[in-house]
């Protein structure tokens, strides 16, 4: 399939680089569906006669596979280019839904684990990193803005998938008008089939629109010397294999891990959390179910807009400074949330919104941070390896919050004070991340790739 090769995707002279972000967005908007699984979670629980945890495992497998496949396939993605990567991602993502639907129709939960979790998860990982390196090369003058636009799509995908899925489930289920309706398994199976077809088509649009810049291309008026003016931005290149041997990679890994763990803590509990924070002494909450749903929606918008806004702003402030804001200001906001969040809903909602925007911003700014430290050579592969921090945080965040909440009491009987130990633990994590980010310095020359006429002085070894 030579038509997918990198060589066949080199942009002709005059190609408009602003065609690249929508191609990237097309992929990220599709794989962002992963955040909309709650729409059919209850239906699957009923259909399989399984527990919430057993059904929740589907999503957990997908996120773990996202990190693993991004880490393992990153070098392959960099070598083969974005078109082949997006095509592969689309094939896995659509196949995941098809296998998942087969599992639903045949009442085999393990097939859903294999389909949506494992196969779809590989599609998630490959798709997530597929446009990143290309965007950074097209936008060397604004890498944060470029990656922010794409990664914003991952946050925005759920905003589309959630209402569309709900509408499709109602259309496919003849009993949708019944009181207390829960979608049938058959309707979820049909939903999966529909999503497979629609996402395949959309991702193919991305795959066949994206192009890589010709060797040596740069935007009109762009002066690489100005980029170098920032102390942490290198004009050298570090391979993915060497990047993981540097202290800087692991410091950024820790910073991202801490930021994501803290954010997931809120995201996972968003709906019950706002109700618990405003629970009265008689056990009722000032926040109704509709208000809680609105709060979840607001957080989704904060997550999405934070990805774009903070990443774009990082082009001006620098990546290290913006991470200091995410982690330092984030720790302060978490402290206020823990100690005074229950005073007014306005304060609570505002704090949560900004905190979640930092969570999204951390994801979107990470590729540009890696570009600054390690150059563009294998930034996609390095980004893939960094995403293992996401997988680890996806396990750690809910574990920390749920463990503390389990110790505080039963769901429905919790209040604002019940959340203090979990939230203050997140503050501690954010402080650790802040310190890790503070310690990031330029990568040592011994890790740089040799240039023509210059050899590396010694083989890099794992840093102490």
């Amino acid at each position: 399939m030579g038509w997918l090769d990198r060589e066949r995707t080199i942009a002709p002279p005059g190609f408009n680089r602003w065609l690249v972000p929508p191609a990237a967005l097309a992929v990220h908007l599709c794989i962002g569906q992963a955040y909309a699984t709650s729409v059919y979670k209850t239906a699957l629980v009923k259909h399989f006669g399984a527990s919430l945890t057993e059904v929740g495992v589907i999503f957990s497998i997908a996120i773990v596979m996202l990190g693993l496949s991004a880490a393992i396939m990153g070098t392959w993605v960099d070598r083969n280019g974005p078109r082949k990567a997006m095509f592969t991602s689309a094939a896995f993502w659509a196949s995941g839904f098809l296998i998942g639907s087969l599992g639903i129709f045949s009442h085999q939960l393990w097939l859903v684990y294999l389909g949506y979790g494992v196969v779809g998860g590989i599609g998630l990982g490959v798709g997530y990193i597929s446009p990143v390196s290309t965007l950074i090369k097209w936008f060397p003058d604004r890498p944060g803005l470029a990656t922010g636009m794409a990664i914003m799509g991952f946050g925005g995908g759920a905003l589309i998938a959630s209402p569309v899925s709900t509408a499709l489930l109602k259309m496919y289920d003849p009993n949708s008008g019944a009181k207390g309706w829960v979608a049938s398994g058959e309707s979820v199976g049909k939903l999966f089939l529909t999503l497979a077809v629609v996402y395949l088509a959309y991702m193919m649009f991305g795959a066949f629109t994206i192009k890589v810049p010709a060797e040596g291309w740069k935007p009109a008026g762009f002066d690489p010397a100005k980029v170098k003016a920032a102390s942490l931005v290198t004009t050298e290149n570090v391979s993915a294999r060497n990047a993981v041997k540097t202290r800087q990679f692991w410091l950024v890994w820790i910073a991202l891990f801490c930021n994501v763990t803290a954010g997931i803590g809120i995201l996972e509990q968003a709906a019950p959390m706002i109700q618990d924070f405003f629970r009265q002494t008689d056990g009722t909450s000032l926040a109704s179910a509709a208000v809680a749903a609105g709060f979840v929606g607001l957080l989704s918008i904060g997550n999405m807009s934070g990805r774009f806004a903070w990443s774009a702003i990082s082009d001006v402030t620098g990546r290290k400074r913006i991470y200091m804001v995410f982690l330092g200001v984030g720790a302060l906001l978490y402290t206020v949330l823990a100690l005074a969040g229950s005073t007014t809903t306005v304060l609570y909602v505002a704090l949560a919104f900004v905190i979640i925007s930092f969570y999204g911003g951390g994801f979107a700014t990470a590729p540009a941070y890696l570009r600054d430290l390690f150059g563009t050579f294998q930034v996609g592969a390095i980004h893939g390896r960094l995403l293992t921090a996401w997988s680890a945080a996806g396990v750690a965040g809910p574990l920390i919050v749920n463990a503390f909440l389990d110790a505080q009491g039963k769901p429905g009987a919790l209040n604002a004070a019940s959340y203090q130990p979990a939230l203050l633990t997140m503050v501690g994590l954010l402080v650790i991340g802040f310190v890790a980010n503070l310690l990031v310095t330029p990568v040592e020359a011994r890790f740089h790739e040799p240039r023509a006429g210059r050899v590396r002085s010694e083989e890099p070894a794992l840093e102490a």
Partner: protein, 42 residues
Amino acid sequence: MTTEQSSVTPSTGKLVIAWALVGVPLGYGVYETLTRVAALFG
């Protein structure tokens, strides 16, 4: 060798279609979400 993008190319139609394909669904998703968010302030 360095090549520069010298001028805006006549690809406006392609640009509009490409951005509409991703922008319209995203706009719909944001609109639907904002209608839910309204309950928060209602």
